[in-house]
């Protein structure tokens, strides 16, 4: 059997003792365009952050290409939510995309001409070449998103985690990004996209993970887009689980005996 791109086993993550993800299990094969779908507060961002070891796991493990994240960092790229940074930072579009090269370069090494050419090629893929010297504080939301995606492309990874890349952007950017995702999939990349709009999800992705604190379902979209699962994901939180989760938060106790 082929090693899956992502294997998540019994993962629980909590913020301030209150579980945001609870006993999650799934695997994603390589080369899929995957949507992580769920309502607000379902733990979608937490899930991809956990996969990159940005959040501590309370239980379980996560393997990427059959290995620990630390051993495959150079094969993984991350597109954080646009709103997670201060765009008033003194940097140009090219500066930000070049940041995608830092991880490959490592400490002490300087950015070279080849890195610059690489960054320009990535900017071209998202139609941002005319803006390379623009200050990032002057970009529109859609342009900011494209800069972030170009930065992840500059990492030359095999597995991409994108947090809400389609949120609050214009139609042109949406089309640019979607076309790019299709191209990346055709090149054999695996892409995980956090997404909250059910309507477009069916159109965009070929593999769906439905999440609402617990895993509702995961698999090819045809199997997942059934009323039963969708109802479970969006039809209000599962009462008992929510209640016990809140109790853990109040009592400040860990969800596992460790």
């Amino acid at each position: 059997m082929q090693i899956p791109a992502i294997e998540v086993h019994d993962v629980t993550v909590s913020y301030n003792r209150k579980p945001a993800l609870w006993g999650i299990d799934f695997a994603v094969p390589e080369g899929k365009l995957v949507g992580i779908i769920g309502p607000n507060g379902a733990g979608k961002s937490t899930m991809i952050k956990a996969m990159m070891d940005l959040n501590k796991l309370d239980s379980g493990y996560i393997k990427l290409f059959g290995k620990d994240i630390q051993d495959v960092r150079d094969r993984v790229a991350y597109v954080p939510q646009r709103g997670s940074v201060d765009w008033d930072f003194p940097a140009s579009v090219l500066d930000v995309v070049l940041m995608g090269r830092y991880g490959k370069k490592g400490l002490f090494k300087r950015i070279q001409k080849s890195d610059k050419e690489m960054a320009l090629a990535c900017l071209e893929k998202v139609n941002m070449l005319p803006y390379i010297n623009r200050q990032i504080s002057q970009l529109s939301g859609g342009q900011q998103q494209r800069v972030f995606i170009a930065r992840s492309l500059a990492q030359e990874a095999d597995l991409y985690f994108m947090d809400e890349p389609f949120a609050g952007i214009d139609a042109t950017t949406e089309k640019t990004i979607f076309d790019l995702l299709l191209k990346m999939r055709a090149e054999g990349k695996t892409i995980l996209v956090v997404h909250h709009d059910l309507q477009s999800a069916y159109l965009y992705f070929d593999w769906i993970i439905l999440l609402n604190t617990q895993l509702i379902a995961s698999g090819p979209k045809e199997e997942i887009f059934v009323p039963e699962y969708l109802q479970k994901t969006y039809g209000g939180k599962i009462d008992l689980l929510t209640k016990v989760g809140e109790m853990l938060g109040e009592l400040q106790v860990p969800p596992r005996e460790k």
């Binding site: 952050k49 990159m52 070891d53 940005l54 630390q70 960092r73 150079d74 993984v76 790229a77 991350y78 954080p80 997670s84 940074v85 201060d86 930072f89 003194p90 940097a91 140009s92 500066d95 930000v96 940041m99 995608g100 830092y102 991880g103 400490l107 002490f108 300087r110 950015i111 200050q135 504080s137 930065r151 990492q155 985690f161």
Partner: protein
């Protein structure tokens, strides 16, 4: 005047030393301060600055020496300890960072003052000069102290240059930095350590109380002038060096005067001037841009109304103020200003009976009328907005549409003859 010449000619080797020391201090504190500012950790700098005092005093009590290396060691320990305390409080209590910083800052500073008073009362001979650490005294530094300070500053500058790109990424997007495998925790630790060092290096020259201003104010001022990190650091350095050299000069001319407050006053003046006058971002340039636009709208509105009057009264060229204000209600101060500007630009002629458009004025009036009506067409035809809603919108848009957009509008609408209100669009 003579003291000033003595100072800037740097003939006195002691003055030379002090100036070099102050320049190095300015460079190191502004560099590290820029990163603290961008990480929104300005208050952390303040907490560190106040918290080095007990360390300095303890080192003095324990080792009974004024050797700056020893005092720096003490300053470093308590400066660091304060940051650890802030971290522990925010992590394990419900208190937020600003509260934790406020608490730690005052407790550490309070203990520092307590120890300082104790030293003064113990009548230790060598203590003379220790209270200079509160507000700084550049001129009282020994060449050895300045060497120490210079070495620490150089160390900071070298480390920042080495890790420049990492510090930049860490300040902009720490989560992403971590995802790429950069040792974020270590780098943050290094940056905090350098902040403590920068503060400690300045205690003798600027004093603990005001060292935070040395870190943050130059960066805050520099942000007004540029959107490029390297330029921003360069400008903060310039501001900090200017402030600290002037501070040193004052301290040199009057040895009762502490250095710190003067340094801070000078840097703050630069900051205030930046906030007011920096191009684009400054308050006054912004106001001027706005004012210019308001005047442009006023001029264009008058030209447009004159053109409308010509349309309605074929053959008539001169219109009275009354004609114009009955077309469009305007305050008398406004139209007086508007006509003054328009006659100066030769767009309007003033005669005894009123005002008339010159040839250039007519072209302009026609252009604005055309854009107004084209925009109304665009809104009704392309965006399906009701005809009675489009006028107000066009009133605003007519002043900002460029010839390029105008061409596109004409192309898109296929050069329409009339606007939604059946008025002829003049070409």
């Amino acid at each position: 005047m003579q003291t000033f010449i003595d100072f800037i000619s740097l003939n006195d080797p002691n003055v030379l030393f002090v100036v070099i020391g102050m320049i190095l201090l300015g460079i190191s504190s502004a560099t590290i301060g820029t990163f603290a500012f961008l990480q929104k950790r300005a208050l952390t700098g303040d907490a560190i600055a106040h918290s080095v005092l007990p360390g300095v005093c303890l080192a003095f009590i324990l080792f009974d020496t004024r050797n700056l290396w020893v005092l720096l060691g003490g300053a470093f320990v308590t400066g660091w300890l304060s940051i650890v305390c802030v971290d522990i409080i925010t992590k394990h209590s419900k208190l937020k960072a600003d509260t934790a910083i406020g608490l730690v800052l005052s407790v550490f500073f309070g203990v520092g003052i307590l120890l300082l008073t104790f030293i003064q009362q113990s009548g230790n001979a060598a203590q003379s000069g220790l209270n200079n650490f509160l507000f700084g005294k550049a001129a009282a530094m020994h060449p050895d102290d300045i060497k120490t300070m210079g070495i620490v500053s150089l160390l900071i500058i070298i480390i920042v240059l080495t890790f420049f790109k990492e510090f930049k990424l860490l300040s902009f997007d720490p989560a992403y930095a971590k995802s790429t495998g950069l040792p974020v925790t270590v780098l943050q630790l290094l940056l905090t350590t350098l902040t403590v060092l920068a503060v400690a290096a300045g205690i003798q020259a600027v004093g603990v109380v005001l060292m935070a201003a040395m870190l943050i104010t130059p960066a805050a001022a520099a942000k007004y002038w540029t959107n490029n990190l390297r330029k921003m650091i360069f400008l903060s350095i310039l501001f900090a060096v200017a402030g600290s050299v002037i501070g040193a000069y004052v301290s040199y001319t009057d040895n009762k005067m502490p250095t710190g407050p003067w340094v801070v006053m000078m840097i703050s003046c630069i900051a205030v001037l930046s906030i007011l006058f920096a191009p684009k971002k400054g308050i006054i340039p912004k106001y001027i841009i706005r004012k210019k636009y308001v005047n442009k709208m006023l001029r264009e509105n008058i030209l447009k109304e004159l053109y409308h009057l010509e349309e309605k009264n074929p053959g008539k060229k001169i219109f009275s103020i009354h004609d114009i204000t009955s077309e469009r209600a305007m305050k008398s101060s406004d139209y007086k200003l508007g006509f003054r500007m328009l006659t100066r630009k030769h767009l309007v002629n003033k005669v005894v009976t009123g005002y008339g458009l010159t040839n250039e004025g007519q072209v302009e009036g026609k252009r604005i009328t055309r854009i107004h009506r084209l925009w109304e067409m665009y809104l009704t035809q392309q965006l399906q907005i009701q005809g009675d809603h489009v006028h107000e919108d066009a009133e605003g848009i007519e002043h900002i549409i460029t010839p390029e957009i105008e061409r596109k509008l004409i192309e898109l609408l296929d050069k329409p003859e009339k606007d939604p209100h059946e008025k002829i669009i003049p070409y």
